[in-house]
Amino acid sequence: MSFDLSLILDALPKMLMGIGLTFQLLILSGFLGLVLAILVMLMRISGTWWLSWPAQAYIYVLRGTPILVQIFIVYYGFPQLEFIRESFLWPVFRDPFGCAVVALTLNTAAYVSEILRGGVLGVDRGVLEAGEALGLSKSQRFIYLTTPIATRLALPAYGNDIISLLKSTALASTITLMEMTGIARTIVAQTYAPYEIFVSLAIVYMILTFLIQKLLARIERFLGRYTIRES
C-alpha cells in the first residue's frame, strides 16, 4: 500500500480551515459547560432534596447516553417540538452550530460537575473547621477555602475532560458542521484516500491535545505552587 504525501500536503491546509470552527465549539461549550457544571454541582451538594435530585437525574441521563445520540436528539428531535419552535431559543436550535454547542455543553457539564464535586469533597475537613472556629461564615468558607483548594484538586481530571471535549467536537460533523473532521470526510469522499487523510487529521488532533496538555500543566503548576516543599 502506498502512502501519497502530496495528497496530505493538499488536504492539510483545507482541513486546517476547519480549525476555527473546532476551536469555537471547544471554547464555547467548554466555557458554558463549566458554568453549568458549577451550578449542577452546587445543586448536587446543596443537601436539599429538590435541588439535589434533579442534579443527580441530569447527571445520570447525560452520562448514561452516547454523546452522538444526544447530538441527534438536539438536532433532529428538538425542532419537532412546537414549544421549542415557538420559543426564543428557536434560533439556537435551528442552527446546527447552536445544536452542537448545546449538546456538547450539556454533555460535558454532567461529567465536569462530578469532577468538581470530587474536588470539593477532597478539601480537608479540618481546614474548614479551622475557618469555622475563626468565625468565617458558610459562604466565606466556601469562597475563600473550599473553592481555591477544590479547584487545584479537580484540575487534573478537569483537563482530561477538556481534551475529551476537543475530540467530541468531531461529532459535530455528523450534523453538517464543517469543522476539521467534517472537511476531512468531504475530502475522503472526493479522493477515496481515507488512510492518508484520516491519519493526518489524527495527527492534527494530537498536536492540539499536546498544546492543551502544556497549557494545563502550566495552570496546574501555578495553582499548585503551595504544594511544593522547597521555596
Binding site: 480537608d124 481546614v127 473547621e129 479551622a130 521555596s231
Partner: protein, 248 residues
Amino acid sequence: MTNAQPLIQMKSVGKHFGDFQALKDINLSVSKGERIVVCGPSGSGKSTMIRCINRLERHDEGQIFIGEIELTDDLKDLNAVRREVGMVFQSFNLFPHMTIVKNLMLAQRLVRKTSKQEAHEVAMHYLERVKIPEQANKYPIQLSGGQQQRVAIARALCMKPEVMLFDEPTSALDPEMIHEVLDVMVDLAKDGMTMICVTHEMGFARSVADRVIFMDGGEILEQAPPEEFFGNPQRARTKLFLSQILQH
C-alpha cells in the same frame, strides 16, 4: 465582664453520636484568666467537650453559656461567639493555599473587618510573638510541624479571643518540636489568657494549670488543682490513668 460571671459555663451538658453517649452530665465553669488542663484516655469525650464550647459539635442536653450568650440553634450570630473563642487543633489545620501571613489575615479581614494594613500589622505582631516572623511569606507545607502549630496559635490570637481552646496541640508533633509549642502556650498562660487545654503533657499541667480535669466515659470524674490531682488523686480510675501515662 465581671469576675463573678464565669466566661464559660456548661450545665448538665450531654451529647450523643447515634447510640453512643459522648458526653454525660458535664458541669464546668471557667472564669476569666483560668487555665484548665483536660486529660483522660482516648474516647473519653475531652475533644468533644471543648468542641461543644465553640459549637463545632452541638450538644443535645443541658446548656452552654459563653459569657451571657447561650449556645442554641436559634443563635443569630454564632460567628460573633466564635470569634471570641480561639481554637488550636491537633492537626494544625492551616489554610494550605495561603502564605503564613495571609493565614493570619484572612479572618481578621472577613470577620473583624480589619483594614488590610492593620491586619498585616497584627499578623506580624503575633508571628513575632511565636518567634517566626521570618516565615511570613512561606506556605504552610514549607514549615516544620512545630512551626505550623505556632502559626496556628498566632492565627487564633489575631482575633484577640477571650478564651483559647487547645485540642491536643502537641499530639501530632515530634518530641523535639513539642517544646517550642509548649513554650508559646506557657507564655500565653503567663499573660493571663483564659485557656482550656486537652493535653497529655503532664509537665505543662503541673506548671501552668489552675485546675486539672480528668474525664472518662464522657464524664468528668475528677477535677482538682494540679498538686492535689497528681499528689492525691481520689478515684481509682484516675490513679490508674496517671500511673499509665507517668510511668515512662
